[in-house]
């Protein structure tokens, strides 16, 4: 019993730590509270995020980009600092609405549809859409030639609407901005339509690709703000006007060669100034990425260990309820196990993180990850324990009862020790599987090891080296567990002890 209490205590401590960690990533309302807090939380996606927001190739633990500069400038005007929060681009608006951060700024085009959901600041950038094709392409010269062609774009971007409205275009939607160009170069797509700054950074330097026609469809990027934060919107508008008047905004865009919106000038500027781009990040020594990757690995360990503990304890309770409980309890446990095993973990995480806020329960990312993984794996652990319990001969319980043990004591002292021995190798294997499944929590804004990798790799295009290092890190974490599992299995094989 004391061991059990220790485990529960441990879980409680982890839950508290995670909610404290999460607190930091928790936005409150109103300009006064933001000032009191001392920092402005802004949401954006650093994965493949150049030149908007992306890890500095020279120092990957630092984010750079024109929107980083803009966020810092705005925060400075407020007398505080800016903190970026990582969030998948296509769920920035829902995450803002559920209160993960104060503002979302990440090349979000102002559209009537989005204006129905959030407030927008005054525009801070005029974007255009650029069509990109393979160098040897002759048929496609403008978007008028796209009928019947496979065209890639970003999920939720204005470019997607433009393509849909042409009609007859086979639109392929991506969630990152690197992959469409990769697929285009590989011949899986015929063209890609995306915002010009993206094309300038990711397509222009690629010798296999070229621009087709002039940029089209001028529109505005705006800072998205929660509907109820109109005061914050007015303040940010004033700041933007001030930054424009003082030339601060122009300075930022000039630094990133974005000031002149005509495509010739943007091209010229990138070429002439040696833009912090692919060439340079390819040269950065590999160890500069270690701090980021190790931090990601740390978060992976925290999530895996805490959720495995939850799974082991909750699984035990479920197994006992299912085997020894009476109908309302045993049916509930059986239903829990079937539902959790019969639905994808990804859906469970989405419901937990994006669905629950609809009924007023808002979990921070690390708590959602801990609960989501833990509750899912509990169903599997419960089945392992159940198999273990069923493998204990009936005579063991009968002998214990006939000696005068109460059933609960017999379960604890006689049945469970034997059941756990049977279940242990399976539980250890599940722990290894959970280590790898923990990468799924990146969909709920956790930047753990896999997410760190994909952000860095998408920026530097060093998929191979970074991938190897990441794989080695995973291996270094899971191999000791494998060894432990093998030793346990060997030890248990020889005797029943």
């Amino acid at each position: 019993m004391r061991k059990f209490a220790t485990i529960l205590l441990f879980i409680a401590v982890i839950a508290v730590i995670s909610s404290l960690l999460g607190q930091q990533a928790w936005s409150s309302d109103g300009i006064e509270e933001i000032k009191k807090r001392g920092y402005l939380l802004w949401g954006s996606d650093a994965e493949g995020g150049a030149p908007y927001v992306f890890p500095d190739p020279k120092n990957p633990s630092r984010l750079i980009g024109f929107e980083v500069d803009l966020a810092n400038a705005i925060a400075k005007e407020l007398g505080i600092e800016a903190r970026q929060l990582q969030n998948a681009w296509d769920s920035l608006i829902p995450a803002l609405k559920r209160g993960d951060f104060d503002i979302a700024m990440n090349g979000i085009e102002i559209t009537p549809q989005r204006e129905g959901e959030v407030l927008f600041s005054k525009p801070y950038y005029i974007y255009t859409e650029q069509l990109v094709v393979r160098k040897n392409e002759t048929r496609i010269k403008s978007i008028d030639d796209l009928k019947g062609k496979k065209v890639g774009t970003l999920s939720g971007a204005v470019a997607q609407d433009i393509l849909m409205n042409i009609g007859g275009v086979d639109v392929k939607v991506y969630s990152g901005q690197v992959e469409p160009y990769e697929d285009l170069a590989l011949g899986r797509l015929d063209a890609v339509l995306l915002d010009l700054p993206i094309a300038a950074y990711y397509a222009k330097p690629n010798p296999k690709l070229k621009y087709a026609g002039n940029p089209i469809g001028e529109g505005f990027y705006g800072i998205a703000i929660k509907k109820r934060d109109s005061e914050l919107k007015n303040t940010i508008d004033e700041i933007l006007i001030k930054l424009l008047k003082t030339g601060e905004l122009e300075k930022i865009y000039r630094k990133w060669d974005l000031w002149d919106k005509t495509q010739e000038k943007l091209f010229q500027a990138i070429k002439d100034t040696g833009f912090v781009g692919l060439e340079e990040s390819k040269k950065a020594p590999i160890y500069t990425f270690f701090p980021n990757l190790l931090k990601g690995a740390g978060i992976t360990i925290l999530i895996s260990v805490s959720s495995m503990l939850l799974a082991v304890v909750l699984g035990l309770i479920l197994a006992l309820m299912k085997i020894y409980g009476r109908p309302p309890l045993s049916t509930a446990a059986a239903a829990y196990i079937e539902i959790y095993r019969g639905t994808p973990l990804l859906i469970q995480l989405y419901i937990l993180y994006y669905g629950l806020p609809n009924i007023g329960i808002s979990l921070n990312p690390i708590t959602a990850a801990f609960i989501g993984l833990g509750m899912n794996y509990a169903a599997y652990e419960a089945e392992l324990y159940r198999a273990g319990i069923n493998a204990v001969p009936k005579g063991q319980m009968e002998a214990a009862l006939s000696l005068g043990m109460p059933q609960s004591l017999a379960i604890k002292r006689i049945v469970m020790p034997q059941a756990v021995r049977t279940a242990l190798p399976g539980v250890t294997n599940d722990f290894i599987a959970l280590f790898k499944d923990s990468s799924l929590v990146s969909v709920i804004a956790m930047v753990e090891l896999t997410k760190t990798y994909s952000i860095l790799a998408a920026t530097t295009l060093r998929f191979f080296e970074l991938g190897l290092i990441t794989a080695v890190l995973y291996f270094a974490m899971s191999y000791p567990l494998s060894l432990l599992a093998m030793r346990l299995e060997k030890k248990l094989k020889g005797s029943k002890r």
Binding site: A399, S402, L403, G404, R497
Partner: protein
């Protein structure tokens, strides 16, 4: 001491006992014989609550266990069953030692946790009991290191450690190799001679005759005959007893 009256027992709506009665006096050794499937095990298991029954009454030293018509017993029934189990020890055909514990731990586990016997006292008792069943040198062995006969003797010592007033033996020698039957039987015989109230279900007609004060013959869930070993083995009255005895004695 133990009174079974009007016992009815169904398995899956199939009647097994249809109102059987038996009185066991203090210090008596009663041996249950009869064809396999006749209900000997079930009878023993009803007495210590490992099986529930639908009608009748079992009375152990004024602790009354009533018919349990429900699928699951109630709180009062559980209380009565627990009290009865503390008075009655049971030894199984399959030994059922706890494989994850040493011989010593098997014996001290329940006294220390249920009777709150101090650890030193429990170890002292266990050592004495092991001496009695001639297994002192195996005190730190694990069950899978023992022969069947040794395991069954440990199981007897384990039951005795709870200081029961009655012992139930359900075919204690049936899974043993023939050469080990003797060592277990002699331990049981000693117990009976010391005056322990004993119920033994067995196929061993020779030893049944030797230790029994009374022999009870079961057939198809019925008690067809009760008598002294002399009467039953030399002069059985019921026709079915004769058939049964001629069949087993021929083997």
């Amino acid at each position: 001491m133990i009174r079974v009256s009007n016992l009815h027992k169904y398995y899956d709506n199939q009647p097994l006992f249809k109102g059987i009665n038996l009185d066991i006096k203090k210090g008596e050794a009663v041996v249950l014989i009869g064809p396999s499937g006749s209900g000997k095990s079930t009878f023993l298991r009803c007495i210590n609550g490992l099986e529930y029954f639908q009608e009748g009454e079992i009375d152990v030293d004024d602790i009354e266990l009533h018919s349990i018509n429900r699928l699951e017993p109630g709180k009062d029934d559980m209380e009565a069953i627990r009290k009865i189990r503390l008075k009655i020890g049971m030894v199984f055909q399959q030994f059922n030692l706890f494989p994850h514990m040493t011989v010593l731990e098997n014996i001290t586990e329940v006294p220390t946790r249920v009777l709150n016997t101090g650890k030193d006292k429990a170890v002292e008792n266990a050592t004495a009991l092991l001496k009695r069943v001639n297994l002192e040198e195996k005190i730190n062995s694990y069950p899978d290191e023992l022969s069947g006969g040794e395991q069954q003797r440990v199981a007897i010592a384990r039951a005795l450690a709870m200081k029961p007033e009655t012992m139930l033996f359900d075919e204690p020698t049936s899974s043993l190799d023939p050469e080990m039957v003797g060592e277990v039987l002699s331990v049981i015989k000693d117990l009976v001679e010391e005056g322990m109230t004993t119920l033994i279900a067995t196929h061993e007609m020779g030893s049944a005759r030797e230790v029994a004060d009374r022999v009870v013959v079961f057939d198809k869930g019925d008690i067809i005959e009760i008598g002294s070993p002399e009467d039953i083995f030399t002069n059985p009255k019921a026709e079915r007893t004769k058939t049964f005895l001629s069949r087993v004695l021929k083997q």
